[in-house]
């Protein structure tokens, strides 16, 4: 079920209606049932995959918790009878046991993800090599990817790693863990929640709070506005440009970049707004995933503000563990001895960064363009790190750091940089992406912007007006948000203003949303059979 389908809206109304009428102690159970029903609609075989992940993680989580308990009680019992060396050895044994269980869970579940998502990618690449050696090509497998598997697998692996680290006790109620893994608003595109964070409100009994409910509903509407009115409208032009690279080169690549930035922002943040809004309507607090990312002044800042939960997941579960593990520390030591301080201290940073960005790219999709995109992000981040001393010197010389002009320059620069990298997302082919990017500087066809070509991309004048107004509204809301919650501000205004805003928003979605069968004039033209 897509968020933007009549079926989902009906489903939502039923779930929310039941949620506030049944006894409160059943609320989280209702959500569990609802999540499984929601997942069932995407294919009942998919239920199998998510159930396997839930059960394996539950069992191993409990096992890890039990081993920990076992260790604590044993050491307490034998506090005075064991020597420090014996205690240390015992702790090591338990640690190895726990480590093995963790490894099993990770390999099993990440393995499922890897096989489903990356088998055909691996086969395609193997086939390239095979054809070089004139060997027979392997045939592709037909594996359907369960909805949200990348998200729920990572969210669940985060949980088991936290349990291993002793951050919190494992969840001993399999139903509750199942809900954490499958919570339906998050299933499609995140955010990737942390168990200790989400469980604070996920299992509580929730009374109907009118203000919270209204705020959640407003947020949901706002999300639908961005998705239906802006994203689903401008996508036509993005597709037109990126599916026909030979026709749309030069300046059109820039046009496509900007349009895609608008589409992706509206679609992704809109979807997250719907997710967080629905959760809020249920009295549940889901963590934020975006923080006005296009106001970032550097790429590193951007990645703290865009898809935040993905960034922090990779940081906490790959970047840090990798950078501070014994092997890495040893590499760091030995390379410092070999190559000196300057190079030595960079090695762990570089290795970890490239690894993280390689996996980030890979996580986004099973094709080279995503991997290259990930690596390029990593490279740009490292390069900008290296340039820091240069920047510092520049700012010493010219005192522009805090001027509005310079900050605006930084914002625009970052926007163009990130949009350029995203070209790899649009054209899906690495070679084509680079070629198109290059053509922006070689094919100087700016005049085409003014000869009506922009109206031949699938958008007419009315569409552009709606998009422009939509973007202005999004921008205004973001600007206003810097000084506090917009919903609070609106709530403080007189009734007439509040209701007008709501009515305008609601009917904008209904009237200007890019959904449904268009009014196809051709169908209506009078014809005799």
């Amino acid at each position: 079920m897509l968020f933007t389908s009549y079926g989902f809206i009906l489903f939502l109304c039923i779930v929310i209606g039941l949620y506030y009428t049944i006894p409160k102690r059943f609320q989280w159970k209702l959500l569990l049932v609802a999540s499984f029903v929601f997942y069932y609609f995407s294919g009942w075989s998919n239920l199998l995959y998510i159930s396997v992940t839930i059960v394996s993680t539950y069992l191993i989580g409990v096992k890890l918790g039990n081993l920990d308990k076992q260790q604590k009680s044993y050491l307490k019992e034998h506090k005075d009878t064991l020597s420090p060396e014996e205690k240390k050895a015992y702790k090591e044994r338990i640690k190895v046991k726990r480590w093995r269980w963790l490894l099993l869970c990770l390999i099993f579940n990440l393995g499922i993800l890897a096989v489903i998502k990356y088998t055909n990618f691996a086969i395609a690449n193997i086939n390239h090599i095979f054809t070089l050696f004139k060997m027979n090509e392997l045939s592709f497998v037909n594996l359907v990817m369960p909805m949200g598997i990348s998200f729920y697998t990572f969210q669940t692996m985060g949980y088991i790693i936290d349990v291993y680290r002793g951050k919190y006790e494992p969840e001993r109620n399999i139903g509750k863990l199942a809900l954490f893994v499958s919570f339906f608003p998050q299933l499609i595109q995140g955010p990737i929640s942390r168990f200790d964070d989400l469980s604070k409100s996920l299992y509580e009994e929730h009374h109907f709070d009118a203000k919270n409910f209204a705020f959640g509903f407003q947020r949901v509407l706002w999300g639908y506005f961005k998705k239906l009115v802006i994203a689903d409208r401008i996508v036509a032009a993005v597709l037109e440009i990126t599916k026909n690279p030979e026709t749309y080169d030069g300046i059109f690549v820039l046009v496509g970049m900007v349009y895609y930035a608008i589409q992706l922002y509206a679609d992704f943040t809109g979807g997250i707004d719907i997710t967080i809004g629905i959760a809020q309507m249920l009295g549940i607090k889901v963590t934020e995933n975006f923080n006005r990312p296009f106001f970032s002044k550097s790429i590193t800042e951007y990645w703290r503000r865009w898809h935040i939960t993905m960034g922090t997941w990779f940081r906490d579960y790959i970047f840090y563990p990798l950078s501070v593990c014994k092997p890495m520390l040893n590499i760091s030591k030995s390379s410092r001895k070999r190559f000196g301080e300057e190079i030595g201290k960079r090695i762990p940073v570089y290795l970890s960064t490239i690894t993280v960005w390689f996996t980030t790219g890979l996580w986004h999709g099973a094709s080279w363009n995503f991997i290259v995109w990930g690596l390029l992000n990593g490279v740009v981040i490292l390069v900008s790190q290296e340039f820091e001393p240069l920047y510092a010197k520049f700012h010493e010389r010219f005192n522009v750091a805090n001027t509005f002009g310079f900050r605006l320059f930084q914002v625009i620069r970052t926007f163009l940089l990130m949009s350029s990298l995203r070209i790899l997302d649009c054209y899906r082919d690495v070679g084509v992406s680079f070629r198109m990017f290059g053509s922006m500087f070689t094919k100087l066809n700016f005049n085409e912007l003014f000869n009506g070509s922009l109206l031949k991309l699938g958008l007419d004048v009315y569409d552009y007006i709606v998009i422009i107004i939509g973007v202005i509204v999004m921008l205004s809301v973001s600007l206003a948000q810097r000084s506090g919650s917009v919903r609070e501000k609106i709530a403080g205004k007189p009734v007439i203003i509040r209701y007008t805003v709501f009515v305008l928003l609601f009917f904008s979605i209904i009237i200007f949303g890019a959904y449904g069968i268009g009014f196809d004039r051709n169908q209506f033209i009078y014809n005799q059979f």
Partner: protein, 76 residues
């Protein structure tokens, strides 16, 4: 504690690490700084700070970090 202050000072000479109490919250130390610090700490103090100890609580001030280092040294 001097060694630690040395390590920190090399990264950000402009900051007074003796008094600053919100190094993470104020975004003075980023993730690159943290792993560099950990590598240096490993080199100079001989302790390996594990990933799960990378929390704002442990890194917000030099003194908190020093406490962590001491604790890890004791455990060994």
């Amino acid at each position: 504690m001097e060694t630690l202050l040395e390590i920190l000072g090399e990264l950000h000479p402009e900051i007074d690490f003796e008094t600053h109490k919100s190094l993470i919250d104020d975004k003075i130390l980023d993730s690159f700084d943290i792993i560099t610090i950990i590598a240096e700490v490993n080199d100079r103090y001989g302790v390996a700070i594990p990933a799960h100890e990378i929390t704002p609580e442990n890194f917000n001030s030099a003194s908190a970090l020093y406490e962590l280092i001491q604790r890890l040294m004791d455990e060994d």
